[in-house]
């Protein structure tokens, strides 16, 4: 296998931020308001803090093995057969998540913008772009993602400026009217929106040496902080613009707000935003397919297959499944399955591995 080139801390930041942001920004206020009502921003904030804990786990695990990536060092924690199983599961998880995200966004585009364009064409194009990019090396990938980061910034500014008029802060009151339990449930629901920082599992050994482990943690925290801020502000804007009852019936309130807001030379900002947001979605997808290919390639110690073959294979599978999944209800069902899966893969497995690694070390077994 080719040795990866190193990436800078800034590139890590871009990778994490862009992988964390996904389609959830659009639907989060709607989902949250169904659970936590006017306290959705609090739930999202809590969820971001929980994400920070997850980052700590991943970081601790990565700093134990600063020379190798996650898909190869698991062998020294749980042995080679278990490693292969874990990698297989991870690869499938990423392909599955990729499929879901592609479906979700092509569905959104289909509903809001390109009503007459067949959905499979949109999906096909997204997948082709992602496959083309995911065959690159980590550094090239980071360059792509770093370039795309312009667009979420622009999108964020659009959201921010569209929220200038017409908000009503009283919508946020009363705070914690039903106690903490809906907020905690909301935080759990928002958890999947933060998934994406697990890029660190693979990228850890390739981040530039300057500053070492603390700098990596700082970068990760910063990226997670930015994502949290983005989500919280989006939730605040939506909750102040709409009442809870309104939010419950609008699946993508952000698009709705942007549709209503216009400047002199641009009549429909939502179109622009959805197009900009395409870059965020593709960045996430690119990282997913890349990670999937890397997981599969590490099935065997000496490497298995070529990255290009794995990437295009996963893309083809996603496209074929995408052809069959057409109902929106089915996509939502898949999304809820994926939410549970991501808790398992992003938090549970690394946490278990960390514990096992710790036990083996203190037990005196060579790790």
């Amino acid at each position: 296998m080719r040795r990866e080139q190193s990436i800078t801390a800034r590139q890590l930041f871009a990778l994490v931020l862009m992988t964390q942001l996904g389609t959830e920004v659009l639907s989060l206020p709607h989902v949250e308001s169904g659970i936590a009502a006017q306290d959705s921003w609090l739930a999202v904030l809590l969820s971001g803090l929980a994400g920070q804990l997850g980052i700590l786990v991943l970081w601790r695990l990565g700093s134990r093995y600063p020379e190798r990536n996650y898909f190869s060092y698991t062998a020294s924690i749980v042995g080679i057969p278990a490693k292969s199983l874990i990698n297989l599961l991870y690869g499938s998880y990423y392909v599955f998540s990729g499929l879901l995200l592609g479906l979700q966004y092509s569905d959104i585009l289909n509903r809001w913008l390109f009503i007459y364009t067949p959905r499979w064409i949109i999906l096909l194009l997204i997948l082709i772009v992602c496959g083309f990019a995911a065959t690159a090396s980590l550094r090239q990938l980071a360059n792509v993602v770093q370039t795309f980061i312009l667009f979420p910034i622009l999108g964020f500014l659009l959201i921010l400026f569209s929220g200038v008029y017409g908000y009503d802060a009283t919508n946020l009151l009363p705070v914690l009217s039903n106690g903490w339990s809906p907020v905690l449930r909301g935080a759990y629901a928002a958890f999947s929106a933060y998934v994406g920082y697990e890029v660190l599992l693979y990228a850890y050994p390739y981040v530039d040496g300057k500053g070492g482990a603390p700098r990596i943690l700082l970068t990760m925290t910063l990226a997670n902080g930015c994502t949290t801020a983005f989500y919280v502000i989006v939730c605040l804007i939506c909750s102040t613009m709409f009442s809870t009852r309104q939010l419950n019936v609008i699946p993508e309130p952000i698009v709705f707000i942007l549709k209503n807001y216009r400047v002199q030379v641009l009549q429909s900002i939502d179109t622009l935003f959805l197009i900009f947001y395409l870059s965020v979605v593709t960045a996430t997808l690119i990282v997913y397919y890349f990670l999937a290919a890397k997981a599969y390639m590490n099935l065997r110690n000496q490497g298995l297959g070529r990255q290009g073959a794995w990437v295009w294979g996963s893309v083809a599978i996603c496209f074929v499944f995408g052809l069959f999944i057409r109902k929106r209800g089915l996509i939502l069902e898949i999304a809820s399955i994926q939410d549970r899966m991501s808790v398992f893969f992003v938090v549970a497995v690394p946490f278990l591995l960390l514990i096992v690694a710790g036990i083996r070390r203190y037990g005196g077994i060579k790790s």
């Binding site: 800034r10 585009l109 913008l113 390109f114 364009t117 064409i121 949109i122 194009l125 997204i126 772009v129 083309f132 990019a133 690159a136 550094r139 090239q140 990938l141 360059n143 792509v144 770093q146 370039t147 795309f148 980061i149 002199q264 030379v265 641009l266 009549q267 429909s268 179109t271 622009l272 197009i275 395409l278 870059s279 593709t282």
Partner: protein, 479 residues
């Protein structure tokens, strides 16, 4: 080999190679105790030189050693007949002394070259007005004059089995990455081809990515530009017979830099640099954007503007895609015609193509007003990009952009731009990434903007990895 066999062998080789050549001359001279034989091509040598500096001294001192007699600086001896034959072809006069064991190669080649002109393809307002010419020696002379330092290394190789084109490889010893130099040298050596249309063939034969519209080597005819790149650790290839030099490895941003930028205030330089970047995007995407907004997302535009557009498109029979294709094709035709035509007629083409066709096409309702504006703007914008290769690439890429956005609207355009970004990120020359996002203070300094000179303290990391300090204290007068 004994002296006699060398002479015989040489005679045989000469007979083999030059028997049919009508401009080949060989003469025997009996002077003093020895017999001399000289060989040359009368079309390649300066006969006055032979007369004054070879024959005359020989007549006076026929028995002395040749080295002392002939007064020619370019003097060499060999006992290899093959080399001597090659030297005759290279414009040298070959002198043989009977019973001597050496063949003497004397440089008497006729120098025919034009004088140094102003650059025709890379005009600047401020800056030196010298351009390379076809003669390799003159070009190296220009470079050596610009960098009078022993750090400037010139290495010569020949490429092409028959053409034997001379290629000079220039770099700054203390700055350039030696692995690049070695790699390029080995790539040049490995070229096995009958003749070289320099530098185009060399560019193609040593490039890495085979299918890319984007140029991977910067072609320039300006010595000052070549020097600027040399000082960043890059390598310059000069070829005999061509006024163009190749610079590599370059990044995407090199194609947006113009020598002007460094002669004027850095603020102006930055603004012009950004203007060029904008024009790059306009060239790539404007026709596609127009078509997609017209046919897919007119809701983006204010209603009054849509009405204006509508009124200009009312009587047009064709869809915007065909209009755009027609106009863009027309622009390409006019461009190509002006390049090919002789200078005085060239301006006529401008008038016929630009004004007559442009106006009539609108008046006869074949193409809408707005489309003419769009295509003209695209064309003019593409000519702002300082590299001909890059501007052509951008113009050609606007066709796929147009096609995909006529199929999928803004979505297609977004996909197109993403593909371009990904393609650029994946490309590299000699391991140097072709494009890297310029969003850090260090990376933006001479890419996105033209930072003030005193801020550009370090050379780019990619091409000058070891020796990076460009300036110590550039403004020592400041306390």
């Amino acid at each position: 080999m004994t002296p006699a066999t060398i002479g015989l062998e040489f005679d045989k080789l000469v007979g083999e190679h030059f028997a049919e050549q009508h401009d080949y001359r060989s003469q025997e001279l009996n002077l003093g105790v020895s017999r001399y034989k000289i060989h040359y091509f009368e079309t390649l040598v300066d006969s006055a030189l032979i007369q004054d500096y070879i024959l005359k001294p020989l007549l006076l001192r026929p028995n002395d050693p040749i080295r002392e007699v002939v007064s020619i600086l370019d003097y060499a001896e060999t006992d290899n007949p093959g080399e001597a034959v090659q030297a005759i072809l290279g414009g040298k006069t070959v002198l043989q002394r009977s019973n001597g064991d050496k063949i003497y190669l004397l440089g008497t080649d006729l120098k025919k070259e034009r004088s140094i002109n102003i650059p025709t393809n890379e005009r600047v307002l401020r800056g030196p007005n010298e351009a390379f010419i076809e003669n390799l020696h003159t070009n190296i002379n220009l470079m050596r004059n610009l960098i009078p330092s022993s750090e400037l290394i010139v290495k010569m190789t020949t490429v092409g089995r028959i053409s034997r084109t001379k290629v000079a490889l220039l770099y700054i010893k203390s700055i350039a990455d030696s692995t690049f130099v070695k790699e390029i040298e080995s790539r040049l050596r490995s070229i096995d081809i009958d003749y070289v249309e320099a530098p185009g063939f060399i560019d193609e034969l040593i490039r890495e990515k085979k299918f890319s519209l984007f140029p991977q080597q910067l072609v320039t005819e300006r010595p000052d530009r070549a020097r600027a790149h040399l000082m960043e650790g890059k390598i310059v290839l000069l070829t005999s017979g061509s006024p163009d030099s190749l610079i590599l490895p370059v990044t995407f941003w090199s194609f947006l830099q113009s020598p002007d930028d460094y002669q004027i205030s850095w603020l102006l330089g930055t603004i012009f640099r950004l203007l060029r970047l904008c024009c790059f995007f306009i060239t790539l995407g404007l026709p596609g954007l127009y078509v997609s907004v017209c046919s897919f997302n007119p809701q983006l535009l204010p209603i009054n503007f849509v009405n204006t557009l509508q009124s200009s498109m009312k009587y047009i029979a064709f869809p915007p895609l065909l209009e755009a294709l027609f106009m863009m094709l027309l622009l390409e035709v006019v461009r190509e015609a002006t390049v090919r035509l002789a200078n005085p007629i060239g301006q006529t083409i401008g008038i016929v193509g630009g004004i007559v066709i442009g106006t009539v096409v609108v008046q006869s309702n074949l193409v809408s007003n707005a489309m003419v504006i769009i295509v003209a703007l695209t064309g003019v914008a593409s000519f702002i990009i300082p590299s001909y290769e890059m501007s052509s690439a951008a113009r050609l890429l606007s066709y796929p952009a147009l096609l995909i956005s006529s199929l999928l609207g803004l979505l297609g355009l977004a996909f197109f731009f993403m593909m371009i970004v990904i393609h650029l990120c994946k490309a590299s020359t000699l391991g140097v990434a072709y494009y890297a996002p310029p969003f850090t203070a260090q990376a933006a300094k001479d890419t996105l903007i033209r930072a003030p000179m005193w801020k550009q303290r370090e050379r780019p990391r990619d091409t000058a990895p070891s020796n990076r300090t460009r300036q110590r204290n550039p403004r020592g007068w400041r306390r």
